[in-house]
């Protein structure tokens, strides 16, 4: 638990107002996905990376772009292809003939927000170059360690259906994503709304910035001081531990998942306008934070069991600390 510093109601109001603005802003582009957009903001406040996974055409990239454009931070995009090299992401040292010395040309990773589109199309060695950046917020190029700007967030998208020419993300990489989101198909009315909204122009072009990097960093720091009672910590840990003991799970969630769940719960509480975390925050975030970190047994997968279903089982079997 971080050292307790009382979070004032003004701080909470700031976060609450920022979240409302962010949701309204992104909803100008993405129709009726309030909960998903809220989770993106929660991940941003926890300084956690986001993996958006869904079938093609549902607006994964659009959502990532809308979110980054709303934040007013430095933003870069990496379009992953099988021939993408690690140096294309981190940057490269080149020989400058004018000055007759080596100079560093920074890659797209040197930004506050990096959208990594179709991450599973990059080769494993290219994917691996993100590991250090995602966990330690730094990169190493030719023996030199370079710190990345803060806040540093990766919003990656991937398509789970297409398998040809893709490389599934390794467990180490998946574990580094704080949350995994699915957008899902819009219903009939929502789809009609999308058509009318995009009829004349792309609403993404007219999005306003609601905040900046410095302010976002401040909000992140406030969220770290949201109070988490010992019982709620115990509840979160119990949920994570149960993923390791579940019969359908070969590899459960790591302690990094526990840390992520706590940080995300703190951010969620702040977004909801509270100065303390309640079990509902943990429950709401259990599936987005934990599901993608599970590696199910072959039997379970053959039975059609999904990681979300396993987490839902665990949540429904775990007692909430009340009395």
């Amino acid at each position: 638990m971080p050292p307790s510093r009382p979070v004032s109601s003004q701080d909470i109001e700031r976060i609450n107002a920022a979240s409302k603005k962010f949701i309204n802003n992104v909803e100008q582009v993405i129709v009726n996905k309030e909960e998903t957009i809220k989770l993106i903001f929660v991940a941003l406040l926890s300084e956690g990376h986001i993996l958006i996974e869904d079938v093609p055409g549902l607006g994964k990239t659009m959502m990532a772009k809308a979110a980054t454009k709303s934040l007013g931070c430095s933003f870069k995009r990496i379009q992953c292809t099988p021939d993408l090299l690690p140096s294309d992401i981190t940057g490269v040292n080149y020989f400058n003939q004018k000055t007759a010395e080596f100079m560093f040309h920074p890659g797209p990773i040197m930004a506050n927000i990096v959208v990594v589109d179709e991450i599973n199309r990059a080769m494993p060695r290219t994917q691996s170059c993100l590991l250090e950046a995602m966990q330690e917020h730094q990169i190493t190029v030719d023996l030199a360690t370079l710190l990345l700007p803060r806040p540093f967030l990766i919003i990656a998208t991937q398509n789970p259906i297409e398998l040809e020419g893709t490389f599934p993300l390794p467990e180490a990489q998946l574990d580094r994503f704080l949350i995994r989101l699915r957008i899902g198909y819009p219903d009939e009315q929502e789809e009609e709304k999308i058509l009318s909204r995009f009829q004349e122009e792309n609403p993404l072009d007219s999005l306003e910035k609601i905040t900046n990097a410095a302010e976002l960093m401040e909000l992140i720091k406030i969220c770290r001081h949201i109070h988490v009672s010992a019982d709620v910590v115990k509840y979160a840990v119990e949920l994570v531990r149960k993923t390791r003991l579940h019969k359908d799970v070969k590899l459960g969630a790591s302690p990094r998942a526990s840390l992520g769940l706590q940080a995300a719960a703190q951010a969620h509480a702040a977004v909801e306008g509270r100065t303390f975390v309640i079990p509902d925050d943990v429950k709401t975030l259990a599936v987005p934070v934990l599901a993608h970190r599970l590696f199910l047994t072959t039997e379970a997968r053959l039975r059609g069991k999904t990681d979300e279903a396993v987490i839902a089982d665990i949540v429904s079997a775990t007692a909430v600390p009340i009395e």
Binding site: H227, S229, F276, A319
Partner: protein, 463 residues
């Protein structure tokens, strides 16, 4: 089709009834054996075997498939052989054995005493296993393994004592029975889909202890003269255990040279003078009025235990019918918990109610400013009232998820419930202190909910 179903249900009910009787017989058999031994009664094969065979008949009747029946018969023969091993040599040598023999510290008697304790332990172990109603060959195998372990212990002590060299015949019988039993067990294990595990429930052990204590208390209330006998029995058992420890220590010390000086042989025991029952009975002289109340209290406890047992059996019957309807095979499965568990729940609930009363008194007198305790109590009490009216909460439900459920239960007090839920969440998870006004409001809301709950009760009665 219909006839077959009825027959199956009947067999199932018969099985449940027999098993219930069986577990009781096992537990009482063990208690009877220990107490008759401690009171100086006669121990012989004829004392144990008839009870065992009675249980065996019940056991056999309880199993309604041929394969199970054969296996159970063999297993029970095995257990009888085991009892012979434990008791037989001494019965040949000493026709009438009592606790007086044990007190002399002679080698054969001390090992007989040990055997009796082990046999009692087996009785209770089997009773407890049956109490969990895990009837299948996994359990039989567990029984066999336990029996085998106990046999090795007895074998060791017999060999050390060197009192009788004729133990090889029962040993051979035991092994043959064991092998046959294992063969059947193996077949059954292949047929079974359940795993194999042996679990002795601590709660069940506590329940047995409480059952014995309450049973004895009841007996003393109705027959005060028994108190003296029980006192003597307790004293004898204690003396016996101390004596046994000394004997074992002497035996161990015998392995080291010169240890005789460290542990001198026990002095020749003086003839035992049993305590004057009249003097001891005076200790238990209870005034008639107190005795009457005690009789009512203990009688009430005893009746509630019987009620719990009956309730358990009725639940098992319902469970068997449900299984039958859903077409779940009834051969290898664990039935619902036994009456022991129900007694345990009964005691646990009574203790929890008592603790709640104490907590309430504490909150009223001193803890009004302890917000956490107060809110936990108030919210917990609302949940309990709701649960008593059939509105049970899921373990995974949070206060926010419970609120709609509670409002539905008591719509007239929805606002108060909402207010208390909100305050509870703030105090419980936010560790926020309540203001004096909020505290007053909480108690007022609590009283309102209590009143509305009572009204609801009467409304339902009128309907």
């Amino acid at each position: 089709m219909r006839a077959s179903t009825i027959k199956d249900i009947f067999l199932h009910l018969a099985r449940i009834a027999f098993l219930s009787a069986l577990q009781v017989s096992w537990l009482f058999c063990g208690a009877d054996l220990l107490f008759s031994y401690a009171l100086g009664g006669k121990i012989s094969v004829w004392n144990i075997v008839p009870v065992y065979f009675a249980s065996l008949l019940l056991n056999v009747a309880a199993v309604h498939t041929l394969r199970f029946l054969v296996g159970r018969v063999i297993l029970n023969c095995l257990a009888v052989a085991f009892l012979f091993v434990a008791v037989w040599p001494f019965n040949l040598a000493v026709p009438l054995i009592s606790s007086a023999h044990i007190m002399t510290g002679g080698a054969p008697d001390i090992f007989l005493g040990l055997s009796v304790i082990i046999v009692t332990a087996i009785y209770w172990y089997q009773g407890l296993r049956l109490a969990s109603m895990a009837v299948g060959f996994e359990q039989c195998l567990a029984e066999f393994q336990f029996g085998f372990l106990m046999f090795l212990v007895i074998f060791f002590f017999h060999a050390v004592a060197g009192v009788d060299k004729n133990y090889f015949a029962p040993v051979i019988i035991f092994f043959v029975c064991g092998l046959i039993s294992l063969f059947f067990s193996r077949r059954e294990r292949l047929a079974s889909t359940e795993g194999f595990s042996v679990v002795i429930d601590l709660a069940a052990l506590i329940c047995v202890g409480l059952t014995v204590i309450s049973g004895l208390s009841l007996a003393v209330i109705f027959n005060p003269a028994l108190a003296a006998k029980l006192y003597l029995a307790g004293k004898s058992v204690l003396n016996f255990i101390l004596n046994l420890i000394m004997q074992v220590m002497r035996f161990l010390a015998g392995f080291f040279s010169g240890s005789d000086a460290v542990l001198p042989p026990p002095p020749p025991s003086a003839p035992k003078t049993p305590g004057d029952p009249a003097v001891i009975a005076n200790l238990f002289n209870i005034p008639p009025a107190v005795r009457k109340w005690l009789q009512m209290l203990v009688g009430g406890l005893f009746i509630s235990m019987i009620a719990a047992a009956l309730w358990s059996v009725s639940r098992q019957i319902a469970e068997s019918i449900r299984r039958r309807k859903k077409g779940i095979p009834a051969d290898v499965h664990k039935l619902n918990s036994s009456y022991l568990k129900n007694i345990f729940v009964l005691i646990k609930n009574s203790a929890a109610a008592f603790m709640r009363k104490m907590q309430w008194l504490y909150i009223r007198r001193r803890g009004r400013h302890n917000d956490s305790l107060t809110m936990k109590f108030v919210y917990g009490q609302i949940l309990r009232w709701a649960a008593m009216s059939g509105c049970r909460k899921k373990v995974s439900a949070t206060p926010a998820e419970l609120y709609p459920q509670l409002s539905f239960w008591l719509p007239e007090a929805a606002a108060e419930i909402g207010f208390i839920t909100e305050q509870f969440v703030q105090v419980r998870y936010g560790e926020i202190r309540l203001t004096e006004d909020t505290r007053k409001q909480v108690w007022e809301s609590y009283k309102k909910i209590k009143q509305r709950k009572k009204l609801l009760f009467f409304k339902r009665r009128r309907r």
